[in-house]
């Protein structure tokens, strides 16, 4: 036992001290955060410069004053101006673009043009479209000659967001969010996939390194081959868990930081106007343009609720399951990787063995993606029970709620499979590490399984 710990320590320390490990550990959460935040920031700050846009119509003033100014765009309505004239002097005029509204717009929805020397941002276009759409709808309604139309319009304006609640066993309702469950399923499934694959492959490389450099013979004259194999597998698992823990803390840190900064700044209209709206897809309140101030507080509430919903996920269960499935799933695959590493003379020879090992992992990942769309499908169910795919698929199912009996069955099967895999891998490994210069096949490895001592 003492010797295993010496081996574990070496495997752990040499890896954790590597520059690549340190860089990956710090960079990965930043990258992840970056992937989430940068598009949001881009959408928010798409304005960059203040835009002045000329609005012209042909011989009418149907849309005068319809498009309200925003914080980063001013709409200047030019009466009695021809588009063609404007185009000629466009460069000197200082306008960002010319919005030309043809009189047919009421009947032909695409008879409106934004002429500009640059590609206008999507937010600006959406804003213009929404403003015009509202106006056209209003004008069409006007044709029905309804009295007090404006008041009625104000009265009927509503925004619908479906709130989801989950009933737990005790009958208590909890706020949930399908969006968050999906995101979580995606992240957990993918994280599991990456960890099993990256660290499993590291085990394989480690075994090959020891075999080709012939260190292995010296070591197994001191310790049993199984001890060396398990020491290596556990050492690398600890590296993985260390990295994972650091990622969790960094991510919590970053999210916490974002939550406080975003919510504290929300008093200033600037951020609330863009950030929460972009986050809450499909919410097009911007269209009204004038109602910023009034709508700030519901938005903060919404945003805050999202965090509460995230907190309502069964985090304890998720973390326990993640650690369980990571450890067993990793041990299962890592022992297979170790056996493969022991059977070959160099890394290029691993190809033929890698494919059958890779397929269940990839399959698991694909089913996990499907699980996000339909967590109750029988494919997802079975794949979360079958041990080769269960670590990934079960993690993807968890945020949507999984009955305890399923989790227990899946875990028991996992434990049994993992134990027998480790046992078999140890037998192959013991013979493989001392075999040189022989092309190994699956058949050969099967023979090694039955060798004694």
């Amino acid at each position: 036992m003492n010797k295993i710990s010496v081996i574990i320590k070496r495997e752990y320390v040499t890896r954790v001290r590597k520059k690549s490990f340190i860089i990956m550990t710090i960079l990965a959460p930043l990258l992840m955060a970056g992937i989430i935040i940068i598009p949001t920031l881009l959408m928010t700050n798409q304005s960059g410069e203040f835009k002045k846009i000329a609005v012209v119509e042909d011989n009418s003033d149907l849309f005068k004053g319809v498009i309200k100014n925003t914080k980063d765009a001013e709409f200047v309505y030019l009466e009695n101006t021809k588009v063609d004239d404007l185009k000629k002097t466009f460069e000197k005029s200082g306008f960002y673009g010319i919005l030309y509204i043809s009189p047919e717009l009421v009947n032909t929805p695409n008879a409106v043009y934004l002429i500009s020397s640059k590609q206008p941002p999507i937010g600006l276009l959406t804003y213009i479209e929404n403003s015009l759409k509202k106006e056209i709808e209003r004008q069409k309604l006007l044709a029905y000659k309804i009295e007090n139309l404006d008041d009625i319009m104000k009265n009927v304006e509503t925004n619908v967001t479906v709130q989801t609640k989950k009933l737990d066993e005790s009958g208590v309702e909890k706020g949930t969010s399908t969006g968050i469950a999906m995101a979580l399923a995606y992240i957990l499934g993918f994280l599991m996939y990456m960890l099993v694959f990256i660290f499993g492959a590291q085990v394989m490389r480690g075994v090959i390194e020891e075999k080709t450099s012939r260190v292995v013979e010296v070591i197994i004259s001191s310790v049993k081959p199984v001890q060396l194999m398990m020491g290596k597998i556990i050492g690398i698992a600890l590296v993985g868990l260390t990295q994972f823990m650091i990622w969790i803390f960094l991510t919590i840190g970053i999210v916490g930081f974002l939550k406080t900064t975003i919510l504290s700044k929300s008093g200033a209209t600037e951020i609330t106007q863009s950030m929460p709206q972009n986050l809450m897809a499909g919410n097009q309140q911007t269209a009204t343009g004038t109602t910023q101030a009034a709508e700030i507080s519901p938005q903060i509430a919404e945003f805050s609720k999202m965090f509460d919903n995230a907190m309502n996920q069964p985090w304890g269960l998720i973390i326990i399951c993640f650690i369980f499935y990571f450890v067993t799933g990793y041990l299962l695959y890592a022992s297979v990787f170790a056996a493969i590493g022991s059977a070959v003379d160099n890394e290029t020879e691993t190809q033929q063995f890698m494919l059958p090992v890779t397929i269940p992992i990839i399959l698991g990942l694909m089913v996990a993606m499907g699980t996000m769309q339909n967590p109750e499908s029988s494919l997802s169910f079975w794949c979360s029970i079958i041990p080769l795919t269960s670590p990934i698929v079960m993690m993807a199912r968890l945020p949507f709620g999984v009955p305890y009996w399923q989790i227990i069955i899946s875990m028991v099967i996992m434990l049994l499979t993992f134990a027998s895999f480790v046992w078999m891998a140890a037998k192959v490994y013991r013979t493989g590490i001392l075999m040189y210069g022989k092309k190994t096949s699956w058949k050969e490895m099967w023979k090694w399984l039955r060798y004694s001592g």
Binding site: N2, E210, S213, V215, V216, S221, S222, G453
Partner: protein, 302 residues
């Protein structure tokens, strides 16, 4: 009393017999040569002694009792194919191997300093192994093999990769270890070093023991009626029915002959005959080199 004994050890890999009923008995503080052509089964045998693999049949004894897994602490093994972690620092690595052999960190450190200074490699302590020359790596590996002061040392080709100077240093260290009480099993193809170092040998060919015993006894046994004869001055002799002349040489005003005598006649009779030809300075049985014996034994068997 023998420190290590192997009785009737057999090992089979698939359909191939790697060891067939091999027995050796290694006396305490002896340097025991394990010889044989490539692929004879030496490495398998050494791996069995190190408990890297188990024998199919046969028994192993260390110090009079059965060999046990915990005995790895009492054995030091320098494999033929040397291996060190290339990216690891020399000192750390030596420390790691020492701890795997059961030494405490502090004790391992103390002994490592001693050996590194003795072999003049202390300056390399903080360097990565890949920065070292091959000879340097060999020295490091030698240290890790002997560090835990094992009773039984197994060296598989310990001198390959060393220049003559370092070969000598390692040779002296091996003799020094023997003096301090270690027993050594020594596998090599270098027959000169066998003559120089080994007390006993076992020659394995095609999985079987074909020759064993003390080096001197074996050489005398294989001497086969050959003698070295030296005359003072320039002397000519001719072969007759009693002896043939195999070699003739004049050196420093001496005449040296190698004779092969017929077994039907005593050496006294031959000497009487030869004394008439000149002044004999010496007459010795000519011992064949281990090299010759090796080749002859293997060739007759094949």
């Amino acid at each position: 009393m023998s420190l290590f004994e192997a009785k009737n050890v057999s090992k089979q890999y698939g359909s191939q017999l790697a060891l067939d009923n091999v027995s050796i008995s290694v006396p305490e503080q002896c340097i025991y040569g394990l010889l044989g052509p490539n692929g004879a089964g030496k490495t398998t045998f050494i791996r069995i002694i190190n408990q890297i693999t188990g024998p199919d049949k046969g028994e192993l004894f260390l110090d009079g009792r059965k060999l046990m897994p915990s005995d790895v602490q009492l054995i030091g093994y320098l494999p033929e194919e040397r291996g060190l972690y290339k990216k690891m620092k020399v000192g750390e690595q030596a420390l790691y191997f020492a701890q795997l052999k059961g030494l405490s960190k502090a004790e391992a450190m103390r002994r490592l300093k001693y050996w590194f200074k003795k072999l003049d490699i202390i300056d390399w302590w903080g360097k990565k192994v890949e920065e070292l020359s091959k000879g340097m790596q060999q020295k490091v590996q030698f240290v890790t093999t002997v560090l835990h002061e094992p009773k039984l040392l197994i060296f598989d080709e310990p001198f390959t990769g060393f220049d003559p100077l370092n070969t000598n240093i390692i040779k002296n260290e091996i003799l020094f270890l023997r003096e301090r009480g270690a027993t050594i099993i020594f596998s090599t193809h270098n027959m000169e070093s066998v003559e120089e170092l080994c007390d006993n040998i076992t020659l394995i060919n095609k999985a079987k023991t074909i020759l064993e015993g003390g080096v001197n006894e074996i050489r005398s046994k294989w001497a086969a009626n050959e003698y070295d004869l030296v005359f003072d001055g320039n002397v000519e002799i001719e072969g007759n029915s009693h002896y043939n002349i195999l070699k003739k040489q004049n050196e420093n005003n001496k005449s040296i002959f190698r004779l092969k005598t017929s077994s039907s006649i005593s050496t006294n009779d031959i000497l009487q005959n030869l004394m008439r030809s000149g002044n004999i300075i010496s007459f010795n049985p000519a011992l064949p080199s281990m090299n010759e014996i090796f080749i002859r034994v293997i060739e007759t068997q094949n």
